[in-house]
């Protein structure tokens, strides 16, 4: 055995972080998405941010489920698991809990995370496992060639709903907040600056960081986010949330959000309402009610839609709590002694 695993069974990493570049994170696998797919831009952004994190490649793991988006790990020159459909958050929970020294990223799709994987998704958030969960939301099942997903708008015509879908969609931000998520954000595949910035923030959050990324599937759901990506829409409908700042938007920031006495958020004209009356964003509010209210400003990406960090609060990460219990147990009971364990309780000697 050339290298002894340490107590915790982890061969110590070189640790020393040689300064890495984007290309260090590009794997040798041919990227296999449709030309024009929004996934390319996200891949580029992630590979671009990685070197900034100052974490050695071998300490980073990308875990995914199944879907176009879930091919992601193959393209990252880090450790990676292409799992099974919907189970990435659970696989990643095991890995992150066993190995708190790693940075574990989950890449998933709207179907993978919210349809078959919904339960693992909400439980990972509730436990606040130390995971960065990137959900590529193209509001469609891409890999299986175009059925509606839990985020598709009601009435959507797809292969499996020729007469239109009957299902009211999830609002992923609301689902995450209802599941006690400590970090919740939203951005867009085409956001050259905003996307990387949100990724940095997610990476910096200890605990579960959920990032919804609107991603265009130009083959099966092209233009789903036009309200935010068209020349017109970009200036009219992107509401950037910035901590501590009054929430304003529009071509000349002429519109803003205000909270009424009945706890309803309304869009107002700043000039007439007055800047002072505007809602000031607070990422760190303990109570998730504000973030939830903001998530309801837009039920879907069809009109003015908040982008950015809805919520970022501190709560002990699940894996860290576990390490703690192990450490304290070892301190209090002393490191495990096998023969003491086996001979514990009633024993008796048989002699000849």
């Amino acid at each position: 055995m050339t290298e002894q695993p340490t107590e915790r069974g982890i061969t110590e990493a070189s640790g020393g972080v040689a300064t890495l570049t984007r290309s260090d994170f590009v794997s040798d696998q041919e990227v296999r998405w449709c030309p024009g797919c929004g996934d390319y831009a996200i891949l580029a952004a992630v590979q671009g941010v990685m070197p900034e994190l100052g974490i050695p490649r071998e300490k980073i793991v990308f875990v995914s489920g199944i879907g176009c988006s879930s091919r992601f790990p193959y393209y990252m020159n880090t450790y990676g698991i292409h799992g099974i459909h919907g189970r990435a958050p659970a696989i990643a929970t095991g890995l992150a809990t066993a190995r708190p020294d790693l940075q574990v990223w989950v890449v998933t799709g709207d179907g993978d995370a919210l349809s078959i994987g919904g339960n693992h998704f909400i439980h990972a958030l509730r436990r606040n496992v130390n995971l960065k969960i990137l959900m590529f939301n193209n509001q469609i099942y891409g890999l299986t060639k175009g059925q509606y997903s839990p985020t598709s708008e009601k009435g959507k015509i797809t292969k499996s709903t020729p007469f239109g879908s009957l299902e009211h969609p999830f609002n992923p931000i609301s689902v995450a907040l209802g599941a006690e998520a400590s970090f919740v954000a939203r951005t867009l595949d085409v956001e050259r600056k905003h996307l990387p910035e949100v990724l940095r923030r997610a990476a910096a959050h200890r605990g579960s960081a959920f990032v919804e990324i609107y991603q265009n599937c130009n083959i099966f759901n092209d233009g789903a986010f036009l309200a935010l990506t068209s020349k017109e829409g970009r200036s009219q409908n992107r509401i950037y949330l910035e901590h501590g700042k009054p929430i304003r938007f529009g071509p000349n920031d002429e519109k803003g959000l205000r909270m009424t006495g009945e706890g309803r958020i309304e869009i107002v004209d700043v000039a007439s309402a007055g800047e002072g009356s505007l809602l000031v964003h607070d990422e760190h509010r303990e109570d998730p009610a504000l973030a939830f209210a903001l998530s309801r400003v837009a039920d879907g990406p069809t009109g003015p839609t908040p982008l950015g960090i809805f919520r970022d609060v501190q709560r002990p990460a699940y894996g860290d709590g576990m390490e703690d219990q192990l450490r304290r147990a070892a301190e209090q009971q002393g490191p495990g002694d096998l023969s003491k364990l086996l001979t514990s309780g009633d024993t008796w000697e048989v002699t000849v």
């Binding site: 290298e3 982890i10 990308f62 048989v350």
Partner: protein, 617 residues
């Protein structure tokens, strides 16, 4: 049967070679504890023994109902024994429900000790006794000893000053006192135990001790017959009692220590597997991580993630959970990561009989995954053997980089037997090396296999230069890149199969014992071990020639299995299912096996098996 006692004369002392006692009462009567104390004392006294609790179904039934009856059976003897006994020769019944539920099992002429106080009309009605069995003569065939346990207890514990309700709750100790006197068991160990347990509540302790002594005194003054069962001659060494689930937990911890790898359990509670989760979660000082997952799929998925991270990933469950783990198990198999899936079989199909035992998950374990997905299967055969099974499963998982299924069942899980505690330093070293450097020139190929074991290298995150991706899509032999190539898929299918088949070279051969000239082999697996052994022993006692063998590895089977089976004209396979091992043996060896099937949620009785086998030998 020597435990078939003839009505004794007062004051007499008799020697017995074995006794089977069943304590039965209401869920609230503390029968499990009573049995446990008696067992402990008998063990230290040096008897060989086996015990079997019989819990009521999961939900507590109303007090005094048949469904609410809880029982504990102990079989102890002056020689080595193999089962908790078929039928009790002594039955302690704390109330009418306990009597009604258990009388049918008591050997004719057996000793019946009842708490007469509990036989008032309401209680009798509750279980549909029109007349009082203590007076209507229906018990004439037994030696009945009536003891007003409740009132005697209340009387006895007066000094302690506990409430009447508390006082009555000590009546199980009174019963224990009586039995202790009858079988010449010392009271001291139990008194010490009581004082320790109730250190914080001296009154309660005092009450229980008083009740215990009162019972003992009653036996003496009432001049009940006293019996003696000499110590058995067991292999020298330090012993303890252990249940199957406890043995699995200890075995996993031992495997972790001897593999120098941390243990990770992902589990979702389910009867009768939950106790393994409970036990393991108590040993965090061994670096054992336990996660109670949101469901079984998450539980095994977490274990897979932990295994990828260099831990020993384990998941524990029972039938319904095994179903749910099928898909993720296939992933572990395709990723070729070590994983131990422990299935404590219970009555099926579907929710079935959650608290009862069965052996009906064997074929599911063999074939319950889509695609060609072979993996090793290890089966425990006695409560203590669960310790071995856990270590053996881990050894195979690590050495061959494969998920392994360990099969136990509800009977092994809760049953207890004396266990000669192994010397820790004698346990096998099952450590395996992690990959630490490139294995293909500059590159690292995650599917470049070891020539001998065909295992792929295990490179864990944190190892610089070995960054790689694995997934459930078919992989190119060697590089592990996604491959749709037809010939590669065929090759990988053959390789995955060959890797598992080769394990037959690495496990103990199948042993058989019995008469050289025996024409009949009784082949078993799992928890039928004791019953088959006892039945064969009785057949030999009758002068019959019979051989027996027991499979501890179901896949692959030991290399010599075919050769052993071919020595006999007839192969009989008793199973607590409809013939699952039979199917495997027939398909692999084209032998016309004879099946003995019982699907009752209960273990075979050695006596029944003896009768069935008599027709064949």
């Amino acid at each position: 049967m020597s435990s078939q006692v003839a009505p004794p004369r007062k004051g007499e002392r008799r020697e017995l070679d074995r006794v089977v006692i069943r304590f039965a009462g209401d869920s609230g009567d503390g029968m499990q504890l009573t049995g446990d104390r008696f067992t402990s004392v008998s063990a230290s006294f040096g008897n060989d023994l086996a015990t079997m609790p019989d819990f009521p179904a999961e939900i507590r039934a109303p007090a005094g109902t048949i469904a609410g009856v809880s029982a504990f059976q102990i079989h102890f003897s002056d020689h080595d024994i193999l089962t908790p006994g078929d039928q009790p020769s002594v039955l302690v019944a704390m109330n009418p429900a306990a009597l009604k539920a258990n009388l049918k099992d008591l050997t004719r002429g057996g000793l019946l000790i009842v708490n007469s106080d509990a036989f008032e009309d309401r209680a009798l009605d509750k279980v549909g006794y029109s007349a009082n069995p203590l007076t209507d003569g229906s018990l004439d065939g037994y030696q009945v000893v009536q003891i007003p346990m409740t009132s005697m207890t209340v009387e006895a514990v007066k000094e302690s000053g506990v409430s009447k309700k508390e006082a009555e709750r000590s009546k199980n100790m009174l019963a224990l006192g009586v039995i202790s006197w009858m079988y010449s068991r010392p009271l001291e160990p139990t008194i010490a135990w009581l004082e320790k347990k109730f250190a914080k509540k001296p009154q309660i302790a005092q009450a229980n001790v008083a009740a215990l002594k009162a019972g003992h005194a009653f036996g003496e003054t009432a001049e009940l017959v006293a019996y003696e069962v000499r110590p058995a001659t067991l292999a020298p060494g330090r012993y303890r009692r252990i249940t199957g689930n406890q043995a699995i937990a200890y075995g996993l911890i031992a495997a972790s220590v001897h593999a120098k790898l941390p243990l990770f359990l992902g589990s979702y509670p389910i009867t009768p597997a939950s106790d393994i989760l409970h036990e393991l979660s108590r040993h965090k000082n061994f670096g054992v991580r336990t996660v109670q997952a949101e469901d079984e799929i998450a539980a095994i998925s977490m274990a897979i993630g932990a295994s990828f991270g260099g831990h020993i990933g384990v998941t524990t469950t029972s039938g319904p959970g095994l179903d749910l783990k099928s898909e993720a198990l296939g992933l572990a198999l395709s990723l070729e990561l070590p994983l131990i899936l422990i299935d404590i079989q219970r009555g099926g199909p579907s929710t079935g009989l959650p608290t009862k035992t069965e052996q009906s998950d064997l074929l599911h374990a063999m074939y319950g995954r889509h695609g060609e997905a072979p993996l090793p299967i290890v089966a425990a055969y006695s409560p203590p053997s669960c310790f071995w099974a856990a270590i053996e499963s881990t050894r195979l998982a690590l050495k061959y980089m494969t998920p392994v299924i360990l099969l136990s069942d509800g009977y092994l899980a809760n049953g207890a037997e004396p266990w000669r505690i192994p010397a820790v330093e004698k346990l096998p070293d099952i450590a395996v090396p992690f990959a630490s450097q490139p294995n293909a020139g500059e590159d690292f190929w995650p599917y470049l296999r070891d020539e001998t074991t065909l295992a792929r290298p295990w490179a864990i995150p944190g190892t610089p230069g070995l960054e790689h991706r694995v997934g459930g899509l078919e992989k190119a032999d060697g590089t592990g890149n996604i491959s749709y190539d037809p010939d590669n898929h065929h090759l990988m299918t053959l390789l995955r199969q060959a890797k598992i088949k080769a394990i037959e070279e690495d496990i103990e051969p199948l042993e058989w014992d019995g008469d050289e000239e025996a024409k009949v082999l009784v082949l078993g697996w799992g928890s039928t071990y004791g019953a088959i052994g006892a039945a064969c022993r009785r057949l030999r006692a009758r002068g019959k020639k019979v051989a027996r063998a027991h499979l501890k590895h179901l896949n692959p089977m030991p290399k010599n299995t075919g050769e052993v089976l071919s020595r006999f004209e007839t192969v009989v396979i008793p199973e607590m299912n409809m013939g699952q091992l039979s199917k495997l043996i027939r398909a692999d060896f084209l032998i016309d096996t004879i099946s003995i099937n019982q699907v009752k949620g209960l273990p075979f009785r050695a006596g029944d098996l003896e009768q069935r086998l008599l027709e064949l030998v």
